[in-house]
């Protein structure tokens, strides 16, 4: 009972304790499948326990309908998984044998990238050692460079031709221009990169020097070595205009797990792989 005035006696004012709740308890979240329940028995047991705690708070018919529904759909999903695992085994073997299916192509490319990464990882220490050796022997380095520049593939001409060295003549430009198909055909592989990400993302794009400028990512997007991770698929190559090079735009979803994602870049004019792309997404 509340008193509105301070008592003359000086005793402390009485007041009712605040109620433990000010409204009805309606917690429907425990009626349904807990997100982390992985099988119907666990779920049913969890629901029974939780439902006992809310006896009378939930319409029994409603609860019955929900329980029935989960039983039916879970069994259906299990049957689908069993059928899918049988089908996938057959389809996987068939694709491996035929080498023509899109899954096989994606598998091949993924395998290629994985091997490249593995080789790179094992070769890096040896490259570092070789680089150190060259740095310690400048005469050897100059000789290697001279031989590289003199090689016809690198733009040099024989002494019967117009020139030697890495200079490109106008004839060379004309010859290279004949290969173009509306894209850019350059000795450099300049591609603008735009990254949209709320976390740090390190991008490495390794392209062959010569490509048409019409680029695409191989099917399957960028993949982590852990195939359980979702692919990083929002990668677009936008052709440049007025002689500008292409732009690659990568969007990293907020929920993308931190990892290294790699993929193969395809020249859509030739249909040939022309490089690799890797994106290392940092943890949030």
């Amino acid at each position: 009972m509340k008193r509105t005035k301070a008592p003359a006696t000086g005793r402390p004012r009485q007041h009712r304790k605040d109620p433990k709740r000010s409204g009805p308890l309606r917690d429907w979240s425990n009626l349904y499948r807990p997100p982390d329940a992985t099988n119907s028995e666990e779920r049913a047991a969890a629901q029974d326990t939780q439902r006992a705690g809310y006896a009378g708070a939930v319409d029994e018919v409603v609860a019955h309908g929900v329980e029935l529904g989960y039983r039916v759909i879970d069994e259906h999903v299990r049957q689908g998984q069993r059928a899918a695992s049988r089908f996938n085994r057959r389809a996987y073997e068939s694709a491996r044998r035929s080498r023509y299916g899109p899954e096989a192509a994606a598998d091949d490319l993924t395998e290629l990238v994985e091997r490249l990464l593995s080789y790179s990882a094992s070769l890096v220490p040896q490259w570092l050692e070789a680089a150190n050796g060259l740095a310690a022997a400048p005469e050897l380095l100059r000789e290697l460079l001279r031989q590289w520049e003199a090689h016809p593939r690198n733009g040099a001409r024989s002494t019967n031709g117009a020139h030697t060295g890495a200079e490109r003549s106008s004839a060379d430009e004309a010859a290279a221009g004949a290969e173009r198909d509306g894209g850019s055909d350059r000795d450099s592989a300049a591609v603008a990169i735009e990254v949209v990400s709320s976390r740090p993302a390190r991008v490495r794009l390794d392209l062959r020097a010569r490509h048409s400028g019409r680029l695409a990512l191989a099917a399957g997007g960028l993949r982590a070595l852990d195939h359980g991770r979702p692919a990083l698929g929002d990668v677009a190559f936008i052709a440049g205009e007025n002689g500008d090079g292409p732009t690659m735009r990568i969007r990293v979803p907020d929920e993308q797990p931190a990892d290294l994602y790699t993929g193969v870049v395809i020249d859509t004019v030739s249909g040939e792989p022309c490089g690799t792309l890797s994106v290392r997404v940092a943890a949030g």
Binding site: L31, L68, R71, P102, G233, D234
Partner: protein, 345 residues
């Protein structure tokens, strides 16, 4: 309020996505001979203004996951073409006389021509799926064709179950049997497949479509039970089919299964007689008697509460699937579908 949520959002978006789908769908209906016997029939059901829930759900799911409308539209059109094809056949199999407020196609043109029209709509539904390769890429287009194949098979199995039960007067069905049948016959085409395909398009094939099974099932099952309820209590003019038509057809609904469970032995015997013969032998008095029994045993209210539970489960599954997505009109539309399916009239 319809753009930001509230009671009108679902209706508004069904109209919006429905109109876009209808406009594109018309491009797939040939305008050539034989018109009178085939091509004039194809546009009949699509013109009758259905709810367009299936294509709208496909488009909204795709857009909620980041796709453009154009990337989902072909698949949405395919779904609607196939849905109309199956409606034509369904009406023949059920002996229905009315669809969306007008005579059914086989009543208008005869069973043989109606069957052929349904077959043709089924074949036409493949074209947008093939054209998908130009819009979303060959790999994803093939995947959606595989999804469509699975959905079509599940739908056929569900239809076979329902027809078989009626044909053989199966009366010892349980509610689990009903939900299994509805899962296949209704949910796969109405809600599971549009959600799966929309998610595949929106995620460019990255998402596992199995994630959408539970949400699609609960949404579709609630939708079907409400459809069955409307047949008994809805306004025939708005609902578009004859009142108590399902009783006359002998359709196995939650209400009928509940009635068999609650009825006395004597009543069950008579129910067996009523539903044991062909539809034509079922009299108006039989239908009235069954309906009165359903009311007496509270079967309609029972079914309504089952549907409410399933709609609630759909909302729960929605919260698990979509919580990571940014807020959008499409995401809100999908969320509100769970209550719309049981509140619609």
């Amino acid at each position: 309020m319809t753009s930001n949520g509230g009671p009108g959002l679902v209706s508004a978006m069904l109209r919006e996505y429905g109109a876009i789908t209808q406009a594109r769908l018309r491009e797939y209906l040939p305008a050539r001979e034989p018109r009178r016997y085939l091509y004039d029939l194809l546009g009949d059901y699509p013109r009758r203004a259905g709810k367009m829930m299936r294509p709208a759900l496909c488009i909204a799911t795709a857009r909620a996951f980041g796709a453009r409308l154009e990337e989902a539209l072909g698949s949405a059109v395919s779904i609607e073409l196939l849905h109309n094809a199956l409606l034509i056949h369904d009406d023949i199999q059920d002996g229905s006389e009315e669809r969306r407020g007008a005579p059914t196609l086989h009543v208008l043109h005869g069973v043989p021509l109606a069957i052929n029209a349904g077959d043709t709509l089924t074949l036409l539904s493949l074209r947008p799926l093939m054209e998908n390769r130009e819009v979303i890429g060959a790999q994803l287009a093939i995947r959606i064709i595989e999804e469509t194949e699975r959905m079509a098979l599940e739908s056929a199995e569900g239809q076979a179950m329902e027809i078989g039960w009626r044909q053989e007067n199966v009366t010892d069905l349980g509610e689990t049997d009903y939900l299994e049948m509805v899962l296949k016959k209704t949910c796969w085409l109405a809600t599971i497949h549009p959600s799966r395909v929309g998610a595949l398009i929106g995620s460019r094939g990255a998402l596992d479509p199995e994630l959408f099974m539970r949400f699609g099932f609960f949404l579709g099952a609630a939708f079907q039970i409400q459809d069955d309820l409307l047949n008994l209590v809805g306004d025939p003019q708005r609902y578009g089919k004859e009142r108590d038509g399902d009783i006359r057809e002998g359709k196995r609904t939650i209400m009928l299964i509940r009635l068999f469970h609650e009825a006395t032995a004597q009543e069950r015997a008579r129910l067996g007689t009523v539903f044991g013969g062909p539809r034509e032998r079922r009299t108006d008095a039989d239908v009235r008697w069954v309906r009165e029994l359903m009311d007496r045993y509270g079967c309609i209210e029972y079914a309504r509460r089952i549907a409410q539970g399933l709609a609630g489960a759909a909302l729960h599954e929605y919260s698990l699937l979509y919580r990571g997505l940014p807020s959008s009109r499409d995401k809100r539309f999908i969320e509100e579908m769970a209550t719309w399916v049981i509140e619609r009239t």
